[in-house]
Amino acid sequence: MTKKNNKSKTLKITTAGLLSAVAIALAFTERAAVSLLPLPPGIRPGFSNIVVMLACAFVSFPCALAIALIKSGFVFLVSGGVSGFLSISGGLLSVCVTALLIKISKNKLSYFGISVLGAVAHNIGQLIGASLTVGSTLYLSYAPVLIISGVIFGAVTGIIFNCLAPALKKHFI
C-alpha cells in the first residue's frame, strides 16, 4: 500500500516536473521569437498556457499551480523581480480561472472558450500586478489592448489544445 502511494506520489512529481520543463521551454522560445514580431509592448502569445490547460484538464489543479509557480521562478531568474511578480500574478489568476471553468462549465464552453478566458485572466492578472508595482491605476487604460490580445492568442492556444487534447488524454488518464 505504501509502495503504491509512493509510486503515485513519484508519478505526480515527475509529471509536474516534465510539464514545467515543457512550459519553460515554450516560454523561453516564445521570448526569443516575440522580439521578431511587431507586437505591442508587454504582449506575449502565451503558448505555455497550453501546458497549464493540459495540467488543469488531465492532471490536477495542484500540478497546474506548481507549473505556474515554477515558470514564474524561471522568469524571476531570467528577467528579475518585477517580471517574476508580473508572471506570478498573471499565472495564478489564469490557473484559477482555467481550473474553475473546467470544473463548472461542462457543455457550456469548449477548450477554445476556456483558453480565451484563461489568456485574458493572465493578462488582467499581469495588469493588476503592474498597477500595484507602478502604484497607479493609470495602467488600467491598457486593458483593451490586453483583453483583445488575450482573445486572439487565447483562441490560437485553444485551437492548438483542441487538436492535441484527444491524443494527450490517452497519456494522462
Binding site: S110, A130, L140
Partner: protein, 128 residues
C-alpha cells in the same frame, strides 16, 4: 474526468465569451478616450504624479528626465520615452503617445506616462 471530450466540441458559449470581451474592451477604450486637441500627459513616478503637461501648448520639442532617470521627449500633441535605464526597454518601444488612453509603463522603475483627454479645461477621470 469522464467528460473531457465534451470540451472539444465548440459551444455557443465560446462565441458569447469572445463577443462580451470585445464589447468590454471597446467600452473601456471609449471611456479612456477624449479630446485629442486638449490632451494632457501625466507622468507618474512611484505612484505620485511628478508632472502634468498640456501637449497642445507645447511650442518647441524638449526632453525631460524623471527623478529615476527615464528620459521623455515632449513635442506638440505627443510624448515618448526616449531612453530608460531599465532592462526590458518595453517603455521605449511604446513609441509616440498621441491619443487619450495611450500609455507607456516602465514597471521596473515604477514609472508611467499616460495621455488623458480633457473636457472644458478639466481632465476627466483622473485620480490624483
Amino acid at each position: 474526468m469522464k467528460n473531457e471530450h465534451s470540451f472539444i466540441k465548440p459551444r455557443a458559449g465560446d462565441i458569447i465569451i469572445v463577443c462580451v470581451l470585445l464589447v468590454i474592451s471597446i467600452v473601456i477604450a471609449a471611456i479612456n478616450g477624449g479630446n485629442k486637441k486638449n490632451a494632457v500627459a501625466i507622468i507618474m513616478v512611484e505612484g505620485n504624479t511628478e508632472q502634468t503637461i498640456k501637449l497642445s501648448d507645447v511650442k518647441e520639442p524638449y526632453s525631460i528626465t524623471t527623478k529615476n532617470g527615464v528620459v521623455l521627449y515632449v513635442e506638440k500633441n505627443a510624448i515618448s520615452v526616449k531612453s530608460s535605464p531599465c532592462k526590458g526597454q518595453d517603455c521605449v518601444h511604446c513609441g509616440k503617445l498621441t491619443l487619450p488612453g495611450d500609455i507607456a509603463v516602465c514597471a521596473p522603475l515604477r514609472t508611467a506616462v499616460q495621455i488623458k483627454g480633457i473636457k472644458d479645461g478639466v481632465p476627466d477621470a483622473i485620480s490624483y
